[in-house]
């Protein structure tokens, strides 16, 4: 995680004269947790648990810089990009075992893990391979799990220790999306198009999360409904928002347009150059956290300060609520049928409503984002 001063979200809070204390706390806890996790793995698994071809990558709250110590789950994958070796399985197993060594015992004798195991879907907590992430985009074999891993790798992943495999896979995934575009540049203009293939996959991911929310409710008999609902309204929506903004930035960011090659003497090389610059642009964007991507958009597109404050304050409240052990526990046990009268869920409804209103303003009223939202985000 980059230093606080370098993060656009904190530069924005300073310029607006706001203090988002829960976002700040989440940043600090992310920095500490990331360092502690690395130290733990180096101690228990070995100094070289990561290699050029296999990196440990974290997702979820740690990937987004929103870690809440002792409450967040740790979504992780040992991402393999290179020769497939039997030893990778043992390293993943050793990582899993190491994560279980840090725990505290509750009053009723249960163990609470600092780096708690990810959810039961099997999407995380094991090895992941680059080949299907890169080659299986769309089509029958692009499973829900594969698509989720791929989009989250783009939008909320953080490599722990070595970065080689992570960066290579990110570049290849981005290239796959871009090389399917018949034209990268708008007809008759010196301006990149919004990359539709990537955008459509991000939209698909968002809709899939919403559909899976209902599916999980059925599978799990309503357990965990309240917390999942709050996350869908806030953190999962934020991932989608950051993905949309990343795609729109390809068309809107002026510094990027200045790099477009229009050399008609060699259109193949011109396309390769344009693809390389667009790939690099998207890579630099997705290296940022979702909150930072939104903060960049606020600055770049001149989003009204009141809207920005409303958006980030709502998100700050969300982090405050899910970071409160008692409220989180209550939300976790809340079932859908009790949600309309539950005071904690009323808080969720209130800040998520403000968050949504601010996003509506940002995406539909802004002179730059509005036309793109209507063109690419609606029909």
């Amino acid at each position: 995680m980059v230093a606080k001063e370098s993060r656009p979200v904190f530069q924005l809070s300073a310029s607006l004269g706001c203090q988002w204390k829960n976002i700040e706390r989440a940043h600090e806890q992310t920095v500490t947790a990331e360092a502690d996790l690395l130290a733990l793995l180096q101690r228990d698994v070995g100094d070289k648990f990561a290699s050029e071809d296999a990196n440990l990558v974290v997702f979820g709250s740690l990937g987004r810089g929103e870690w809440i110590d002792w409450l967040s789950d740790l979504d992780w994958t040992l991402l393999v990009d290179g020769q497939c070796k039997p030893g990778h399985f043992q390293i993943a197993q050793d990582i899993r075992d190491a994560l279980k060594t840090v725990y505290q015992t509750t009053a009723n004798g249960n163990k609470e893990y600092r780096f708690a195991a990810p959810g039961p879907t099997g999407t995380f907590g094991n090895m992941g391979f680059s080949h299907q992430l890169i080659h299986l985009i769309g089509g029958q074999e692009d499973t829900n799990k594969n698509m989720t891993q791929r989009i989250l790798l783009l939008l909320e992943s953080l490599p722990v220790s070595a970065v080689n495999a992570h960066e290579r896979v990110l570049k290849s995934i981005i290239q796959r999306y871009l090389e399917e575009e018949p034209h990268l540049i708008k007809s008759g203009q010196i301006r990149y198009k919004v990359p539709r293939f990537l955008l459509n996959d991000i939209v698909r991911f968002w809709r899939t999360m919403a559909v899976d929310f209902a599916s999980k409710q059925r599978d799990r008999g309503g357990d965990g409904w309240g917390l999942r609902n709050a996350k869908l309204r806030m953190s999962r929506k934020l991932i989608f928002v950051s993905g949309l903004l990343t795609c729109f930035s390809c068309n809107l960011e002026e510094k990027l347009q200045a790099k477009i090659s229009t050399d008609e003497r060699d259109i193949k090389t011109a396309r390769s150059k344009n693809l390389a610059h667009l790939q690099d642009h998207i890579l630099q964007y997705v290296r940022q956290t979702p909150l930072d991507i939104v903060a960049i958009a606020v600055k770049e597109y001149g989003i009204n300060a009141a809207i920005a404050e409303k958006l980030f304050s709502a998100y700050d409240e969300f982090l405050g609520l899910v970071g409160d052990p008692e409220k989180r526990a209550r939300l976790k046990s809340l079932r859908a049928e009790a949600s309309r009268t539950d005071p904690i869920f009323s808080e969720v409804r209130a800040f998520s409503g403000r968050f949504s209103e601010a996003l509506d303003e940002m995406f539909f009223s802004n002179g730059q984002l509005g036309p793109l939202t209507r063109k690419y985000g609606v029909f």
């Binding site: 050029e52 008609e264 003497r265 060699d266 259109i267 390389a276």
Partner: protein, 245 residues
């Protein structure tokens, strides 16, 4: 005509003279004298004045890729003995005393690195290195760039940024174990992506390992050399696709 040739280390491991004898029978017009291991540098420096290299329009020396930092000044002292027009190809991660290297100016030809090295892989890495060595030149290793980023996006960014510094091109296939192999079809296609970004006069040095360390330098090795040179000529001379096509 672009000079094309081989690294002596790729032809005959640790035996530059044997490699030069074989290369003299080919139509190679460039050569890189390999001293990748520190112990190879002194014999090469001592032999340099007597080497028959008139047939080559481009000559470079590949300095050791790894050595004890205590020997940095000695390495540089030996490097300075080579004729002034020979480039000194260097891995950036060996540099500790930047001011000593800076004195060699544009003769220091920084090579972009493979994925094993901690620095020198990306455009951003190289920008930082050239800030330290403002007169240094670039040896662009396509195989390394392809290994680090198989999409070749980084390769394009590097070539765009540093075209003015480009003095030598290394071509080979670098496999997942970071060994130099003969050029494969997949590598050929990747090289095609950047071929038009390389100025026509930049010399090419092939690093494809055409002989195993203990292999006799037979006719088979000679044919491998010819095949690799032919493949590269064809790749680099491909015609451009114009809008009117």
């Amino acid at each position: 005509m672009r000079p094309i040739g081989f690294s002596t280390g790729a032809v005959a491991y640790s035996h530059f003279q044997a490699a030069l004898d074989l290369l003299a029978q080919t139509d190679a017009t460039a050569v890189e004298l390999s001293a990748l291991r520190p112990a190879e540098l002194k014999p090469l420096a001592e032999a340099a004045p007597t080497l028959q290299l008139d047939r080559y329009s481009h000559v470079s020396v590949h300095l050791p890729s790894s050595f004890n930092p205590d020997f940095e000044e000695e390495i540089l002292s030996l490097a300075a003995q080579f004729p002034a027009q020979w480039l000194l190809v260097t891995h950036p991660d060996v540099i500790r005393k930047w001011d000593l290297w800076r004195r060699l100016g544009e003769r220091i030809c920084i090579e972009n690195m493979d994925k094993r090295k901690p620095v020198g892989q990306s455009r951003r890495d190289l920008l930082a290195i050239f800030r330290q060595l403002p007169d240094a030149t670039l040896c662009f290793d396509i195989g390394h760039a392809h290994q680090v980023d198989p999409t070749m996006g980084e390769a394009i960014l590097i070539l765009e940024e540093f075209t003015g510094r480009l003095r030598e091109l290394h071509i080979s296939e670098v496999n997942s174990e970071s060994k130099h192999d003969l050029i494969s079809l997949e590598a050929e296609r990747s090289f095609e992506v950047v071929a038009q970004l390389i100025p026509k006069n930049v010399p090419v040095i092939l690093e494809s390992r055409v002989a195993a360390p203990d292999e006799q330098l037979s006719d088979i090795v000679f044919k491998r050399i010819e095949r690799e040179i032919r493949v590269v000529r064809s790749l680099l001379n491909a015609s451009v696709q114009v809008a009117a096509d």
